[in-house]
């Protein structure tokens, strides 16, 4: 604390360089040390979303609010947003999942927070407007139920003792008892269970303690609870909520030979069967291969990005998983985005006349996002859409020109060599700036 008058206190010089000798046991570690270890351990979970939950405020007491829209309170130099305090309760783990930094056989430094410490840290950060809430996960200690109890205890303390109204995301353990998962859903806005790897065989090989059937079973249980809670809320507003921001999952890509076609099938099935809000993809090895032409955009990262784009196309652009790759080429193209790749495979579907085409067909035009499609549909009721209109909507003309017909434009013969040529520059630009789409989701 500082006083207004004497307010000269600057943050201490940042101790990144300081080597901290390993303490005899974790209880002697200070909060800062624990925080560094347990934030380090948590950054492999990609999700930081804080949106889509029920609206709450603290006018009647407690602390915090949710508006339904998420807020990113900061951005780290990796371009990712910091919305939640994302930490592990502990990185001790009895499991030995081969891709995971916290596996029992890893020599990573270990730490464990007490529930009280996590509660205090969350409240202190929240009061200063650093965060929207907490994303709590944990290594498995003793057994699944014991671990889940600890995680649920933090959530309960925050909600009941502190009256915390901010966002809570709890990672749950599929092996934990249904009663504990039910309690987690009662306190949390979002619940997630990671499927970890795209296929049952991958899981069998690299995470032998995990089992896809059990994971999907737990997801089904959670979904039933969510649906039930929604139905009850419709009848009486007093009904207790259950994970109002739904459930999500994450899979690691690049650790096994699974191909994009299998991965997208798996995602599509997860969306269909468990109504997941999001499937997150995490590139297993972010380390660029020395031989790569583009050092910071090594295949795993570009691939991860392409999977996110494909995922977006499935959820918002009416694409089926099977359309995004072909049996002959089961990997997504690294050179161009999946919508462009689809368009190149289907020259017969173009040009699309923006003045007459259906919404579904407009969605398929490379360079046209969902929101601009909505706007075009509105505008064309009043006048014929021209290139100048597209420009004013900030559509990249370079990208759409080969595919669209407007009142004043008709592209050269689709599929011809000349037409192919016009596509080149757009593709290469795309390769250098693949980060943008992840943020906006516009393709």
């Amino acid at each position: 604390m500082t006083s207004i008058e004497g307010g000269q206190v600057r943050p201490a010089p940042f101790p990144l360089n300081r080597k901290i000798s390993r303490p005899a046991n974790h209880h002697q570690m200070d909060i800062a040390q624990k925080l560094s270890i347990l934030a380090d351990a948590a950054k492999y979970d990609a999700s930081c979303a804080s949106s889509g939950t029920s609206k709450r405020n603290s006018r009647e007491g407690g602390l915090g609010s949710t508006t339904g829209a998420g807020i990113c309170h900061s951005y780290t130099p990796d371009g990712r947003c910091v919305s939640l305090l994302k930490i592990l309760l502990t990185n001790y783990c009895i499991y030995d999942c081969q891709y995971c930094i916290n596996r029992v056989s890893s020599d990573v430094r270990r730490a464990r927070f007490t529930a009280e410490e996590v509660v205090k840290l969350t409240m202190d950060f929240y009061r200063r407007n650093y965060i929207e809430g907490l994303f709590l996960s944990s290594g498995i200690i003793r057994n699944a139920d014991y671990t889940m109890e600890q995680v649920v205890r933090v959530a309960r303390m925050l909600r009941e003792e502190q009256g915390f109204k901010g966002y809570l995301h709890l990672k749950t353990i599929p092996e934990a008892s249904p009663e504990l998962i039910a309690q987690a859903g009662r306190w949390a806005d979002r619940i997630s269970i990671n499927v970890e790897l795209p296929t049952p065989a991958d899981l069998e090989r690299l995470a032998p303690e995990k089992n896809l059937g059990r994971i999907r079973g737990a997801m089904t249980t959670i979904q039933r609870r969510i649906d039930q809670a929604k139905a009850e809320v419709k009848e009486t507003t007093k009904a207790p909520p259950f994970a109002p921001a739904g459930q999500s999952t994450q899979m690691i890509i690049g650790a096994t030979a699974a191909q994009d076609r299998e991965i997208l099938d798996q995602s599509s099935s997860l969306y269909r069967h468990h109504k997941l809000r999001r499937v997150y993809y995490s590139a297993f090895s972010p380390i660029p291969d020395a031989s790569q032409r583009l050092p910071l955009m090594a295949p795993p990262l570009v691939r991860e990005h392409r999977l996110y784009q494909a995922d977006w196309l499935m959820r918002f652009y009416g694409f089926q998983a099977q359309e995004l790759t072909t049996p002959e080429a089961p990997q997504l193209s690294l050179e161009m985005d999946p919508k462009m790749a689809w368009a190149m495979r289907h020259p017969q579907s173009f040009p699309v006349d923006v003045n007459t085409a259906s919404r579904e067909m407009l969605w398929r035009i490379p360079g046209l996002g969902v929101r601009n499609v909505d706007r075009i549909l509105q505008i064309r009721r009043w006048h014929r859409v021209t290139l100048a209109d597209l420009q004013r909507l900030r559509v990249s003309l370079k990208k759409v020109l080969p595919f669209v017909q407007t009142a004043d434009h008709h592209p050269r013969e689709i599929g011809s060599a000349q037409w192919q040529q016009t596509l080149k520059p757009a593709q290469q630009l795309e390769l250098f700036a693949p980060a943008i789409g992840v943020v906006t989701g516009e393709l």
Partner: protein
């Protein structure tokens, strides 16, 4: 020409614009002007209220889309002086034959309006994100004070958000234009202050920086993505922005460490392929094939593969962890000290060793040299997994009535999840491999007991577990 001077607020513009519209003053006959700070809140200056009201007596009423009014409320906060005339021009056009105007987003006026709205909304959003409260104690009260520099006049527009969120705290948001104070009950506004009146630090900030530094992944540096959402103009009021240069500087050494770790991990993953097992119902064929197994790297340092041993018609299969020093040399399982202990316990429990088949979860000896001794090392998951097809094949051929897992390694691989022996020992369970599976300790754990007393007690428990097996056979 009509000159309309107004206090810069949506309410004032709304009032004046309605009257002007009722007076049928076309957009190009009206000039709008913000009242300067020295002449606050006078409403109409040039046109007296009386005159405008008079003009409005027999005026028509207009139906304005709700969407426009909402948009106007936001655009009114824009810093541009030009906003009032633009709003009025669009209002005029909407009420004079272009009711659908807002839907034509590409119309130059509408386009500009949307651009301004977006700019204000972004500012509102960034304020919610980047305000940083600092805790101060003032006259015994804990207060939270923030300094923020908005691009537009959004303090009032954003007040409900901050009140909803921090209703139970006492706080102030200071800006150069105005200050907002919340005392826990009501909001008050005071004139703007300068930046150095705001507190400059908070003890919690070093933890926040610690978090920021460690949630950053140095292997994925993408500064342009960060700058797109957190432009440098905000940096001077964000404590964490101070360490961004350091983080970037240290990124590549940190990546090198990660890279080394990742290479090690990758080579281990490549080694984790399960053994290729011949499709056979002959135990001897299986044994021969296992002799040359290279599914994991353990074969390199072991003398030989130590396969299972016993009758193909055995009723009980014991599965241990891995061969020890003596087993490795002899090429037979359970012949060392632990094996002798197992024999003794079997005899005490009344089980004929001849009716048993003994084998291990991992079939090569894993060890580390210490002086002259070869010290046992626990196999890792990848090795256990690589070896799994062998014991599976053994069980498929033998089809025992009872399967006994000796120790955690065997139990873990058979039950397919980590276990605490203490929780489940001595109870029969049904598993994929055998309808009657029982878990107990590994006899080597008895050898590790420090004093004879506990060793005896543990031995008795081990024998008791085996007695369950003997009973189940009857």
């Amino acid at each position: 020409m009509h000159l309309l001077t107004l206090e810069p607020s949506f309410a004032a513009w709304h009032r004046v614009a309605r009257r002007a519209l009722q007076a049928e003053w076309a957009w190009d006959t009206v000039l709008w002007e913000d009242a300067s700070d020295s002449q606050p809140a006078l409403g109409l200056l040039d046109e007296t209220p009386a005159r405008v009201a008079q003009a409005a007596v027999s005026a028509p009423t207009y139906n304005v889309p709700k969407a426009f009014m909402e948009m106007a409320r936001t655009v009114a906060c824009h810093h541009s002086a030009h906003r009032w005339s633009l709003l009025y021009r669009v209002l005029w056009r909407i009420t004079h034959g272009e009711h659908h105007l807002l839907k034509v987003r590409v119309d130059p006026d509408v386009h500009e309006l949307y651009t301004m709205e977006k700019s204000v909304q972004r500012d509102v959003h960034k304020m919610r994100a980047f305000v940083r409260f600092r805790e101060v104690v003032h006259e015994g009260q804990v207060l939270y004070v923030a300094w923020f520099e908005p691009q537009h006049h959004i303090l009032e527009l954003n007040a409900p958000f901050f009140i909803d969120r921090f209703a139970g705290m006492q706080w102030s948001i200071l800006t150069p234009e105005r200050c907002l104070h919340w005392d826990g009950v009501k909001a008050t506004y005071t004139p703007g202050v300068s930046r150095h009146e705001a507190p400059t630090g908070d003890a919690m900030e070093s933890l926040w920086l610690q978090y920021y530094a460690h949630i950053f992944n140095p292997a994925r540096v993408k500064t342009h993505a960060m700058l797109a959402e957190m432009p440098m103009k905000y940096w001077r009021n964000l404590p964490e922005a101070a360490i961004i240069p350091t983080l970037l500087q240290q990124a590549s050494p940190r990546v090198e460490t990660m890279m080394a770790r990742s290479h090690a991990l990758q080579s281990r993953l490549q080694q984790a392929h399960p053994a290729d097992v011949p499709d056979t119902d002959d135990l001897e064929v299986l044994r021969d094939a296992a002799a040359t197994c290279k599914a994991c790297p353990l074969y390199r340092n072991a003398t030989q593969t130590v396969f299972g041993e016993g009758s193909v018609s055995a009723e009980i299969v014991f599965i241990g962890e891995q061969p020890g020093d003596q087993e490795d040399l002899a090429g037979r399982p359970f012949v060392g000290p632990a094996g002798k202990l197992l024999d003794k316990a079997l005899a005490e429990a009344g089980i004929d060793r001849k009716s048993c088949y003994v084998t291990n979860a991992v079939k090569h000896f894993k060890w580390k040299r210490q002086g002259k001794r070869r010290l046992h090392q626990t196999p890792v998951q990848a090795e256990i997994h690589a070896c799994k097809p062998w014991w599976k094949a053994e069980l498929v051929i033998i089809k025992p009535r009872i399967l006994v897992c000796l120790g955690a390694t065997a139990a873990k691989t058979v039950l397919e999840h980590p276990v605490k022996i203490g929780d489940i020992r001595g109870e029969f369970m049904e598993t994929t491999w055998c309808a009657k599976t029982l878990v107990t300790v590994h006899p080597s754990s008895l050898l590790r007991q420090p004093d004879p007393e506990t060793r005896e007690r543990e031995m008795a428990r081990f024998v008791a577990d085996l007695a369950q097996v003997a009973k189940a056979l009857l």
